[in-house]
Each structure stands twice: as structure tokens, then as C-alpha cells.
């Protein structure tokens, strides 16, 4: 599926991705009100297919976004939600729940916006009450997206699951920074942002491995997935599904058709009948 934050504001693009064999799309994180995000530079390519961003959760707000996807028929859309207080979520769900969507992903791990994302997600009590509130207002499955914060990712995943989360998405970008040596200035307008792309894959693998080892909850793996081998690695670590993000800077939408085909070939070569058989196999050792 498409990871949150990547090209996710247009129904036309969702449909295009779906016609290219993507399993589901996760939207940009939607908030109650529109957010312009930070001034540019908000995305900094660091080379080796690794990126730094502090987009600042820019999104059109729940009202405009619910209009955007109101005509959705067949695309499996997971709406990512972000809020600064518990009260934000029931309001957003009331706009979205009647639409053709398959669930929510709660962004509790964006590493670069104050009073939102990780700043909220680093407090187990807030996470607990937010998840409980959301579960009271929707019957749709919810995934909580966790990341690398002050509190251990497994602890946070456990708190979310104990509070009612159906799925855990791991991981978000990792708090990071770039300073230009010539100008001697931080490059991001926000100075600090989140690292994505190839550099963070081993961190994502470790998190998925540890979460799925300790908890029964299904995990969606995310972070630095560029090829079918990366997908397999996340599955072996225990992920039941995976999300793609930074790879879209170097590939077009045809990527998903290609990866699906290559995964089928891998299963055939290894003698598996379905992909579920691969999930968590690395835990045997």
C-alpha cells in the first residue's frame, strides 16, 4: 500500500495507483482544519535514495478532503488522521465514516510538528485515551502508526493495542537534520525533520521484528522499501502488509505491478502457496 504523506491528496491519483495494482492507499494525515505546512525547503534529498522532510502535515482539512474522496467507489482508502487533542478525532470521523473507506491510520509519530504526531504519541496516557475515544466512534479498523520516540516503540505499540488498536504501522520517519557545510545553515525551514528512504530500512525491520515478537497484533511494515526483496524482508520480520513511500521519487506507478509479479515468482521458487506463509518466518531463529 501507499504510505501516508506521499502524493496522497487527490482522488485521481488514488485511482491511478489502484489501476497499477496497489493494494490500498493511505492518505496524507488529515486534520480538523486545513494546514499549510512549513515553508520550503520541506523535502531535502540526501543522496542514496534517502530523504529528509519536514512538510509539516500540510493537508486540506477534513471538510475539503471528505469532498475529495466522496465519489470513491473501488479504491481501498485508509485515511490517516492527526490531531492535537482527543476531541479532534470524533469530529473527523463524523465526516469520513460514511464514505467508502476501509479504515483509519492514526498518526502518533510524525517527528516534526509541535503538539501533534510524536509529541502526542510519546505520552502513553494520551495514546491510550485517544485510541479508546476513536474506537468508541467508529467500527472501522484502526491502525496506530508508531515511530522512534523517547518511549520504546514496542511499549508504545503495546499501549495502543491494549487500548483497542487493531493494527500497528511501523515505522514513521526518524527525527533527523541536515546542515549545509558551505552556507553553514540548516537546510529545512523547520531545521529538524524526519528521515525516510533506504537509510531507515534496518530500523524499520528491527521495530517490526520486535513488535511482532512480543504482540499478537498484525503489523504493517514501513520504511525504506524499494524492491520485492525489501518486502520479503519485512514479511519475514513479521509484517502482514507493507507500505511504500520514498521509492516513488525514483519510480513511477508501474512499480507496484512489477513488485507483485516478482513476489509471486519468489513464492513459486520457494514453494509457498500464499504470501501469508512467509510472515514472521525469521522468528524461528
Amino acid at each position: 500500500m501507499l504510505a501516508s504523506g506521499i502524493i496522497g491528496i487527490s482522488q485521481d491519483i488514488f485511482e491511478s495507483l489502484y489501476s497499477h495494482d496497489i493494494g490500498a492507499v493511505v492518505t496524507k494525515s488529515i486534520s480538523v482544519r486545513p494546514m499549510k505546512g512549513y515553508p520550503n525547503p520541506s523535502v531535502v534529498p540526501l543522496g542514496n535514495e534517502t530523504y529528509l522532510n519536514a512538510v509539516g502535515l500540510s493537508n486540506p482539512g477534513v471538510l475539503a478532503f471528505s469532498r475529495e474522496i466522496s465519489k470513491n467507489k473501488e479504491v481501498p482508502i485508509i485515511v490517516s488522521l492527526v490531531g492535537s487533542s482527543e476531541k479532534d478525532f470524533p469530529k473527523m470521523i463524523s465526516f469520513l465514516d460514511s464514505l467508502n473507506i476501509i479504515g483509519y491510520e492514526i498518526n502518533l509519530s510524525c517527528p516534526h510538528v509541535s503538539k501533534m504526531g510524536m509529541e502526542v504519541g510519546d505520552d502513553p496516557e494520551i495514546v491510550c485515551s485517544m485510541v479508546k475515544t476513536i474506537k468508541r466512534h467508529t467500527r472501522r479498523p484502526i491502525s496506530v502508526k508508531v515511530g522512534i520516540g523517547q518511549i520504546d516503540v514496542v511499549e508504545m505499540a503495546k499501549t495502543a493495542t491494549d487500548s483497542g488498536a487493531d493494527i500497528i504501522t511501523a515505522i514513521n520517519t526518524v527525527r533527523a537534520m541536515k546542515i549545509d557545510s558551505q552556507s553553514m545553515m540548516p537546510v529545512l525551514s523547520n531545521r529538524i525533520g524526519g528521515l525516510s528512504g533506504k537509510a531507515i530500512k534496518p530500523i524499520g525491520i528491527r521495530c517490526v521484528y520486535e513488535i511482532s515478537k512480543k504482540l499478537e497484533v498484525p503489523v504493517i511494515g514501513c520504511g525504506g522499501i524499494f524492491s520485492w526483496e525489501d518486502v520479503v524482508e519485512y514479511l519475514l520480520a513479521g509484517a502482514s502488509a507493507v507500505q511504500f513511500g520514498s521509492v516513488l521519487a525514483s519510480c513511477n506507478h508501474g512499480l507496484f505491478t512489477k513488485i507483485n509479479k516478482e513476489l509471486k515468482n519468489y513464492l513459486d521458487r520457494k514453494g509457498f502457496k500464499n504470501i501469508g506463509e512467509v510472515i514472521g518466518l525469521a522468528h524461528r531463529y
Binding site: I6, I7, G8, I9, S10, D12, I13, E15, S16, K28, P34, M35, K36, G37, P39, N40, P41, S42, V43, V44, P45, L46, G47, Y51, N53, V55, S58, N59, P60, G61, A64, F65, E68, D180, Q182, S183, M185, V187, S189, G245, S246, L248, A249, N252
Partner: protein
């Protein structure tokens, strides 16, 4: 080792050219940008202020390129105030470009304001390819006309004419660039129409070209954050201007119902032109 176009490079402005009261051109040395194709763009960092997508302007100095900026928003105004010796960060060039075919004998370029920038880069190529050319330069008033002399000089080796239109009739033909186009397409055959400028103008140019069954290539502009296909800010229907454009042909343009009608704000909300 080849240079990674994605990595930001610091360049020093070697020359600043005043084009009009609100447009300036900044020349700098950069091999990758000097080889950019017409229609490609750079992400330009004005340190600690903004980063904005800018079409690559031509410089006739070996190994150099330029950008032309109109004073408008926070980023472009800060950029406008830079002078020779100041530095900027650039990455790119990104995007596709205007295409020319060997069989082309006569082409039409229609541009308005700083939308003329990619067309000037194209004009330099057309000059080398010995293709006859008509170029329409649109401006609001006489004071805002830019690049008239430069276009003439870039097309010096080929048969060409420059037609200027002004909205208030203070110079050249009264009306918009598309009004100027209406006049020339009636009695002359073109192999291709190239356009860049305000989108409602391009939409008219597209409609005229479609009516006359002329192939058209239009370089579009949208707000961008990343320039590399990640943020989605520059979407127009299911296309991304940064990765699938900036140049689109008849087939794509005719399927884009947002073309000339809708653009998205920084927060991704749809807004209407005009």
C-alpha cells in the same frame, strides 16, 4: 563520478540583469543547469527563506545557466533582492522538456510574462535546428514587456518574427497572447505550438490549437514542495507536474479537466482560476 542532480549545490550569482521593474535574471555557473532541456526546472533555495521551483533560463555564457524571477510572493521577492556575489542553493534540473522533431519547418511559440523563460531556451535550440519561428510575447502593459530584444537575438540565424501583445494596447497588438495567436494561425501553417505562461492563457492557446488541429506542447506550473514526485502538491488530475511534466501534449491536456480551471493551494485545497 556523475553528479547526483538531487543533491543541493551552492552557486554564486555571477550577474544580475534587470529585465523590467519587477523581473530580474540571475546568471550562475553550473554544468548540469547549463545542459538543461527547455521546460526543465530547478528547485532554488533562497537560504533560510524559501525554496521555489524555477524554469531554467538560458545563458549564452559557456557552462552557465540562469533563472528569471518576478517579484510576487515571499520567496520570489526575497530572490528578487539578491545581487551578484550572493549565493543560492539549487537542485535539479528536473522534469521533461519541449520536444522538437526533425521534420519541423515552422513553429509557433506563445508565452506570457516569466512563462517566456522555457520558450527562450527552446528558441535557442530552434535557432540551432534552423526551424522557422514565430514568437508571441504577451504582457499586461508596455512597461512589463520582457525579453523582446533577447528573443530576437536568440533567433538570429533563422527566419523569425516576434509579435508583442499588450492587454491595454500600449505596445504591439492590443489583447492577450492568445488573441495574437488567433491572428497568425489563420494564414500560416505551423508544425507545432509551444506555450508557457498564465494557465488561463495557455488554456486558450490549447483551445485555438485544438480547433486548428495543431499539435501543442504546454509547460505547466504548480506549487511544489519536493520537485521529485513525493509530496503530491503539484498534482493536476492524476498527473504530477514535477515528474510527468512540466511539458504536456494534446493527449494529456485534453484529459485534464483541471487544466486552466483548478489549482491547489499550499494545503492542497482546490481553488478556481480567476
Amino acid at each position: 563520478m556523475p553528479i547526483d542532480t538531487n543533491l543541493m549545490r551552492l552557486v554564486t550569482i555571477s550577474e544580475s540583469i534587470i529585465e523590467s521593474s519587477n523581473v530580474k535574471t540571475f546568471v550562475f555557473s553550473d554544468i548540469l543547469s547549463s545542459r538543461a532541456s527547455p521546460g526543465q526546472f530547478l528547485m532554488v533555495w533562497i537560504p533560510r527563506v524559501e525554496e521555489i521551483p524555477m524554469s531554467v533560463m538560458i545563458s549564452e555564457v559557456e557552462g552557465h545557466a540562469a533563472i528569471s524571477v518576478k517579484k510576487y510572493g515571499i520567496g520570489s521577492t526575497a530572490l528578487f533582492q539578491r545581487k551578484a556575489g550572493d549565493f543560492l542553493g539549487i537542485r535539479g534540473p528536473y522534469g521533461n522538456s519541449f520536444k522538437t522533431l526533425k521534420k519541423f519547418r515552422n513553429v509557433l511559440l506563445v508565452g506570457g510574462g516569466t512563462g517566456l523563460v522555457p520558450l527562450l531556451r527552446l528558441a535557442a535550440r530552434i535557432n540551432e535546428l534552423k526551424i522557422h519561428c514565430t514568437m508571441i510575447l504577451g504582457a499586461r502593459t508596455k512597461k512589463e514587456i520582457i525579453f523582446e530584444k533577447y528573443a530576437n537575438s536568440l533567433l538570429r540565424k533563422v527566419r523569425h518574427r516576434i509579435i508583442v501583445t499588450t492587454d491595454d494596447g500600449s505596445y504591439g497588438i492590443r489583447g492577450s497572447a492568445s488573441d495574437g495567436m488567433m491572428k497568425v494561425v489563420k494564414n500560416e501553417r505551423f508544425d507545432c505550438v509551444y506555450t508557457c505562461g498564465p494557465e488561463p492563457m495557455m488554456k486558450k492557446v490549447f483551445e485555438i490549437a485544438t480547433n486548428q488541429s495543431l499539435p501543442i506542447q504546454a509547460s505547466l506550473e504548480r506549487y511544489m514542495k519536493c520537485g521529485i514526485g513525493l509530496c503530491g502538491s503539484c498534482c493536476i488530475n492524476s498527473w504530477l507536474v514535477c515528474r510527468d511534466g512540466t511539458v504536456f501534449g494534446n493527449k494529456d491536456l485534453s484529459k485534464m479537466n483541471e487544466f486552466g480551471n483548478v489549482f491547489r493551494d499550499k494545503d492542497g485545497q482546490k481553488l478556481q482560476y480567476g
